[in-house]
């Protein structure tokens, strides 16, 4: 028997004690890894949304309840449609300081015989668009033809399939990369296709007109890029003054709300992780001290046979490190089973952009969680290890006489 195997034998031949320590450390690893993945996904989602939006100002109809309705659409994929007079696009373009103004038109399909799925349809102008087009070009480099659509990653339709929207047969020609936002649940087409779909919707009794006496030229949102050197707030105010029944929202202020929510959630998760850590540390210290008391005789015998204090300390640390490692692996695996399959549920519950970090980042988080768990386990046992190394074997052996 080798000295090193003594620690392993101790763990294997006291299965109840070992299981209790493994479960404790597993809870710690679960909270650290699970919490880190959730917070990391939220940060990744926010980064994705920031890079996706790219606009300085977004103009939406006042009927969209200012930015809230639009924000829900962006973040949670809430299906909705709101319209404003298309003339607002020209008015925005006339405002000094506006570099580009790109329109979008929204349409909600129905959960009815005429539509394959109830879904958000977004029409954009390929000539002026800077919002959707760069994203689409990552997966579909050709121009979108009439009744061609590109689908978000969460839409259940493969390239080549036909999506029926208000009885119009639209061909799926591309599938977009995930953003972790509501944009993943939408279908994208050019304005020509959107006009066809709006007309088809009109035939089915779904009106998109702001009022009956206005023209068919309706749009839902205008994405504005401000020229360099211009103050975005001033341009925003000017747009507000030039347009009718519209709200101009600074993208930054919209993202600030999301960022604030993210900070609040991150803070809560961090506090929970901290509390679990502290609790686990205290419980582990108590557990190790109790175990140390229970094993005093065993350590006295080892001292009697010639084990030095440092060898004894090393053996206790090895046992706790092995327990913590096993608990850490168990905790990380359990967290993976809880967090990854329920991504959609978590995303819906939080109502924030949620994009899973890359495999490399997740692996890094898993390793960091494991390291942290082993560290806490070793720290917790170090006090017990120190106490045990100071035990006077003569006295302990006499106590049992």
């Amino acid at each position: 028997m080798k000295r090193g195997s003594l620690a392993i034998k101790n763990l294997l031949r006291k299965p109840g004690r070992t299981a209790a320590l493994v479960i404790l450390t597993a809870l710690l690893a679960l909270s650290v890894f699970g919490g880190s993945v959730v917070v990391g996904s939220l940060r990744q989602g926010l980064n994705s949304l920031e890079s996706r939006l790219g606009a300085d100002i977004i103009v939406v109809p006042s009927s969209a309840q200012s930015k809230a309705s639009f924000q829900n659409m962006l973040l949670q994929g809430t299906i909705g449609a709101f319209y404003m007079d298309g003339e607002n696009l020209d008015r925005v373009r006339e405002v000094e300081g506006v570099e580009t103004a790109a329109p979008q038109v929204f349409l909600a399909s129905l959960k009815a015989d005429c539509c394959s799925v109830k879904i958000q349809v977004i029409g954009f102008d390929p000539e002026t668009d800077f919002f959707v087009r760069p994203w689409i070009e990552q997966s579909h480099t050709r121009e979108l033809g009439d009744l061609d659509v590109v689908v978000g990653c969460k839409v259940e339709a493969e390239v080549g399939e036909i999506l029926r929207i208000y009885d119009e047969r639209c061909k799926v020609v591309g599938r977009l990369a995930p953003t972790g936002t509501g944009l993943d649940t939408a279908v994208y087409c050019n304005l020509s296709t959107m006009k066809t779909l709006l007309a088809a919707a009109e035939e089915k009794g779904v009106s998109h007109k702001v009022s009956s006496d206005e023209s068919d030229d309706q749009i839902s949102a205008i994405y504005v890029k401000v020229k360099d050197g211009y103050d975005i707030d001033q341009v925003n105010s000017k747009i507000q003054g030039h347009t009718r029944k519209c709200s101009a929202v600074r993208t930054k202020s919209m993202l600030t709300d999301v960022s604030d929510s993210l900070s609040a959630i991150s803070g809560t998760v961090a506090t929970l992780i901290g509390a679990v850590w502290l609790l686990a540390l205290v419980i582990l210290v108590v557990a190790f001290v109790m175990i140390a008391n229970e094993r005093k005789r065993e350590f006295a015998v080892l001292r009697l046979l010639g084990t030095s204090r440092s060898m004894l300390g090393g053996m206790v640390l090895k046992e706790s490190a092995l327990c913590s490692l096993a608990g850490g692996i168990l905790g990380v695996l359990t967290a993976s089973m809880l967090v990854f399959p329920f991504t959609t549920l978590i995303e819906t519950s939080l109502g924030l952009p949620y994009l899973r970090p890359s495999a490399g980042t997740i692996l890094g988080l898993a390793l960091a969680s494991l390291a942290a768990t082993v560290l806490v386990g070793s720290l917790a046992s170090s006090w017990a290890s120190f106490r045990l190394s100071r035990v006077d074997p003569g006295t302990v052996l006499r106590e049992g006489n």
């Binding site: 003594l6 005789r297 009697l304 010639g306 006077d392 003569g394 052996l397 006499r398």
Partner: protein, 224 residues
């Protein structure tokens, strides 16, 4: 190898009472010579076990020195003292000292596994056969009787062939037959060159003694 104690004593402080300290072992000197069996008799509480622990390097004396050959045990750092104890001083404690998590064979090989790489499995098997516990080689401590546990602890000590053997009440849990067996083993170890000290309250052990002492109230006196 000679183990000698030079004017060693052990004093403990009392928490209450008239005197604030007492001597468990009063200043004494003794020598354990290679090839001899020394028997130390005395009533319970006379200081025998305290003396044995001081001689084994487990309990620092209040005064005096313990030397193994020329080495002053208590001047060594813990790591070196521990290694020296493992290699040179075999202790059979009075209390139960077999680890519950290991089998009889693993317990016997435990001391040799701490530092050495030498394979002592054959030696362990030989001692198990000699002490009639070979049938229990793969049994765990919880399955053993008091006598079997005692013989396991003795086999663990003898397996290493230490030059000094300190045994505290080694026959306390044994029947007459096994007492004879164990006494014979210690006698044989002495004949092979070990310095053996047997601490006991049983006068039978005197039969194998080359030298004998009595402890009474922490004071050592030679028995003639």
């Amino acid at each position: 190898m000679i183990l000698s104690a030079e004017q060693i004593s052990k004093r403990y402080f009392r928490k209450s009472g008239e005197a604030n300290h007492f001597y468990a072992v009063k200043p004494l000197s003794m020598t354990l010579n290679p090839g001899t069996v020394t028997v130390l008799c005395g009533r319970s509480g006379s200081g025998k076990t305290t003396l044995l622990h001081m001689l084994s390097g487990l309990l620092t004396p209040t005064e005096g020195k313990v030397r193994l050959g020329e080495t002053d045990l208590y001047s060594l750092p813990d790591r070196e003292l521990s290694k020296l104890r493992n290699a040179s001083i075999g202790v059979v404690p009075q209390a139960r000292s077999v680890l519950d998590t290991l089998t009889v064979r693993e317990n016997i090989l435990l001391a040799s596994s701490l530092y050495g790489t030498e394979d002592r499995r054959e030696e362990a098997q030989r001692w198990m056969e000699t002490l009639h516990i070979d049938g229990l080689a793969d049994s765990r401590a919880a399955e053993l009787s008091g006598g079997e546990l005692r013989r396991t602890a003795i086999a663990r000590t003898l397996c290493l062939h230490p030059p000094v053997i300190l045994a505290d009440e080694p026959t306390g849990d044994l029947d007459d037959e096994n007492t004879q067996l164990v006494s014979g083993c210690f006698r044989k170890a002495a004949e092979e060159g070990a310095a053996v000290l047997i601490v006991t309250h049983e006068s039978d052990a005197l039969n194998i003694a080359d030298a004998a002492f009595r402890m009474d109230g922490g004071q050592l006196s030679a028995l003639t």
